[in-house]
């Protein structure tokens, strides 16, 4: 599975306990957000990949503030979490 995220999804993956989003229909906080996100994370296998587009990474770093460089360092060189532009464009691969 390849999981491509926007910055709000990434924020929740990193911090499932954050204040929940509002349901646009009711204006009320979405229920059981933490449990839902943790369930999603528990379903990610060892061979699944997280794709973080460069603009998403940039927004996460803006929010992380002084934690930004550490965030970059934590994501650098991971086989299963890709944040470079090229990994998004490389859809063309040859099957044997």
């Amino acid at each position: 599975m390849i999981l491509a995220v926007d910055s709000s999804a990434l924020a929740l993956l990193v911090n499932p306990a954050a204040d929940p989003p509002e349901d646009p229909k009711t204006g009320q906080p979405v229920l059981h957000v933490r449990e839902r996100v943790e369930h999603l994370i528990a379903g990610i296998g060892a061979s699944d990949t997280l794709v973080i587009p460069t603009p998403v990474l940039a927004e996460a770093m803006v929010r992380a503030e002084e934690g930004g460089p550490g965030l970059m360092e934590a994501l650098r060189g991971l086989a299963r979490a890709k944040s470079s532009r090229s990994t998004c464009t490389l859809r063309s691969r040859q099957r044997r």
């Binding site: 924020a11 927004e59 934690g67 060189g77 464009t89 063309s92 691969r93």
Partner: protein, 248 residues
């Protein structure tokens, strides 16, 4: 029992204008689509555009009917689908459209768009710096450059080439840890819209950390001073996108 007839209509021709060689090409493709060559017969060409009447012997008629129904929805045996593709190409090249109908009822079994098919977008190939990830499963070669295959799950990156000295280093990583190769690739867009990397020249590589996504997220959470771990992080990030939930 009577044979079941099908009529293939080509709107751009009349019997007297349809070249014999072209007729043969249409019939060969039709036969491919029908299958069961021993029991599919050509009956003749009729006027009203060019109408190629064919007959399927009763013994194979149900099988051919099922095959054609599958072709209509894009399924069925490869050979039948290949036959339809050839017919589409022939029609498009003849600036024609066509239909295959039941001879008796006139019901259209398979419609062919021919000249009306969407023209594929074409882009010239280009080269771009990129990176590819995976496990090295093959490396070697006898010419001046070495060639490698990188496996990323079920996907194989082939046509990967590099200098021999780089290949010597990489050889130690054969069937080893995941690696990322940086270099320059040639990309082209295929008719089905999928981009294809036709070659990749490697400049350098790095050995990757094989941790899973949950483990990577744990590492991000542990970063000192990471304000993504604050309670208002989600709403603040949404605010960066112009969303309405930034109440921070």
């Amino acid at each position: 029992m009577k044979p079941v007839e099908y009529v293939f209509r080509i709107d751009a021709f009349q019997p007297e204008t349809l070249p014999m060689a072209r007729l043969a090409e249409y019939l060969a493709a039709l036969a491919k689509m029908f299958g069961h060559p021993d029991h599919a017969h050509f009956v003749g060409v009729e006027p009203g555009s060019a109408r190629l009447r064919t007959a399927i012997e009763a013994v194979d008629a149900p099988k051919v009917e099922a095959r054609l129904n599958a072709v209509r929805i894009g399924e069925g045996p490869k050979e039948a689908l290949a036959g339809k593709r050839i017919l589409e190409d022939l029609l498009a090249n003849d600036n024609a459209t066509g239909t295959l109908s039941e001879g008796e009822s006139g019901r259209v079994v398979v419609a062919f768009v021919g000249r009306n098919r969407t023209k594929p977008l074409t882009f010239p190939p280009f080269r771009e710096d990129a990176s590819i990830d995976g496990q090295l499963v093959s490396i070697g070669g006898r010419d001046s450059t070495a060639h490698a295959i990188l496996q990323d799950g079920e996907i194989f990156h082939s046509s990967v080439e590099m200098r021999r000295d780089l290949a010597r280093d990489l050889g130690k990583l054969l069937y080893g840890p995941p690696i990322r190769m940086y270099g320059n690739g040639r990309f082209e867009r295929q008719a089905d819209g999928v981009w294809k990397m036709t070659d990749f020249r490697v400049d350098r590589y790095e050995i990757l950390d094989g941790r899973s996504v949950p483990e990577a997220l744990e590492a991000v959470r542990a970063v000192p001073g990471n304000r993504l771990m604050e309670a208002d992080a989600y709403r603040n990030v949404l605010g960066l996108q112009g969303g309405g939930e930034d109440k921070a």
